[in-house]
């Protein structure tokens, strides 16, 4: 478990803004570095100073009550939410909200999967997967189609290439969304409660795909309510409470020996609702 190792700022890291990398640093170049991030909607502060480093290949699960800021934090990482203070670096690129070109470059490295799938309804499954590589990466037609077919095969949907999204089940739509995000070859993947909108019997097929991504070394940040999945797949679990990282550690510790009363209460609630 890498999370238990000593902090060792790697010389190969991208632009490192500070001398001291902070307590969360993992071994290896952090692919994501969030420093003192604050975000508010008007007078209401949602994120109250987040510091977080994520190592390449790490799988991080973010848990917490609704309103704790976990989805907002995830959405800050690819600029869907604008934050007021702090800095965020992905794969050596600073997030600059008012620079559209820099935002597009950063977003090429950050895949995102949403709770509500958000497939493009007017395009076939194959076209959904091929649109961004065609427009953004200028990938050639034949190569693009070949890649899309391979990715759809990987998520178990090779026969759905020409289907329209509304003909698929929720689980299938979400797997297409995963293939669509993978087509851009992201360095890091954000999963925002990706099974919350699914019927219980469809959750497994999506989680299996996510698990296979983790096994292949993809860096994953996932906001999830699937505690058993977080426990099984995550290298590190972050418990957010009232806009702050309240407790963080390997899943055995977080779930086995929670330190704070807030986390204990939260885990008690989750157990109650899972029963």
């Amino acid at each position: 478990m890498s999370a238990t190792l000593q902090a060792a700022p790697a010389p190969t890291a991208g632009p490192v803004p500070r001398g001291d990398a902070g307590a969360h640093t993992q071994v290896g170049a952090p692919i994501l570095r969030i420093t003192a991030l604050r975000k508010s909607y008007g007078a209401h502060e949602v994120l109250k100073g987040i510091d977080l480093d994520v190592a390449r290949g790490e799988v991080v699960a973010i848990i917490g009550k609704s309103g704790s800021g976990k989805s907002t934090l995830l959405r800050c990482i690819n600029g869907l939410e604008v934050f007021q203070q702090g800095s965020l670096i992905v794969d050596g690129r600073h997030l600059l909200h008012d620079n559209p070109k820099a935002m597009r470059e950063l977003r090429q490295g950050v895949g995102m999967i949403f709770q509500s799938f958000n497939l493009f309804p007017h395009l076939t499954v194959g076209q959904n997967v091929m649109l961004a590589p065609h427009l953004v990466k200028r990938r050639g037609r034949a190569q693009n189609a070949e890649r899309a077919r391979a990715l759809l095969a990987r998520v178990g949907l090779s026969e759905k290439f020409d289907a329209m999204p509304d003909k698929l089940s929720g689980g299938q739509q979400q797997r297409v969304a995963i293939a669509r995000a993978l087509a851009m070859d992201p360095a890091i993947m954000l999963c925002d409660e990706i099974t919350s909108a699914l019927d219980p019997e469809l959750v497994g097929e999506v989680l299996r795909v996510v698990e296979s991504l983790a096994d292949e070394g993809m860096t994953l940040l996932m906001v999830t309510h699937e505690m058993s999945f977080a426990r099984k797949v995550a290298d590190r679990v972050i418990f957010m409470h009232q806009g702050l990282v309240h407790e963080m550690g390997p899943p055995e510790t977080i779930f086995g020996a929670p330190q704070t009363p807030e986390l204990r209460q939260f885990l008690g609630l989750m157990e109650g609702s899972a029963a």
């Binding site: 690819n78 995102m112 509500s116 493009f120 309804p121 007017h122 851009m184």
Partner: protein, 218 residues
Amino acid sequence: MSFDFLSILAQWPLLLRGAAWTIGLTALATLFGATLAVAGAWARSQGPRPLGWLVGAYVELIRNTPFIVQLFFIFFGLPELGIRLSPGVASVCAMTINLGAYATEILRAGIEATPRGQIEAAQSLALSRTQIFLHVVLPPALKTVWPALVSQIVIVMLGSAVCSQISTEELSYATNLIQSRNFRAFEAYIVGTLGYLGLAILLRHLLNWAGPRFLFGR
């Protein structure tokens, strides 16, 4: 009372020429008007503020004035500024500007109905604003509002009858000409009416067929 439709139909070259004019005017006005509407709807929903206001003013001006006045202004008014247009060109301009205004509002409604999540998905796939508008927002918006848009295009096609007032030789001009020659007004206007009816039905079918095929997928 005896009806004489043959004396009307004997003028078929004139009628056919008129119908061809009506079709041509409508085709050009649809092409230019729809393009204008896409630009207008973009400006209204996502463009810079001042441009949005400008387009808003244009839309309100056109939607709250009669088409015939717009047409007369272009044909009789603009020459004062040294802009002299033939009846055909003036007709296409008036129809384009008219359709553009109505279609801007129709399309804007469709654009604003795009679920936020689809735009966010496109953003997170690193598409640019223009790419998102053209590839993610516009096609479903067109699909949503297509029935309303088709109706508006048919209305503009029927409205082109007014262009006979500046001696554009379209279908109603031909009909007027025939009845003024043989005084068979009843028969002439029945034939003219049936001509418009046929054209409108044809146009509706054509657009309903073409939209899904070429503009926004199934």
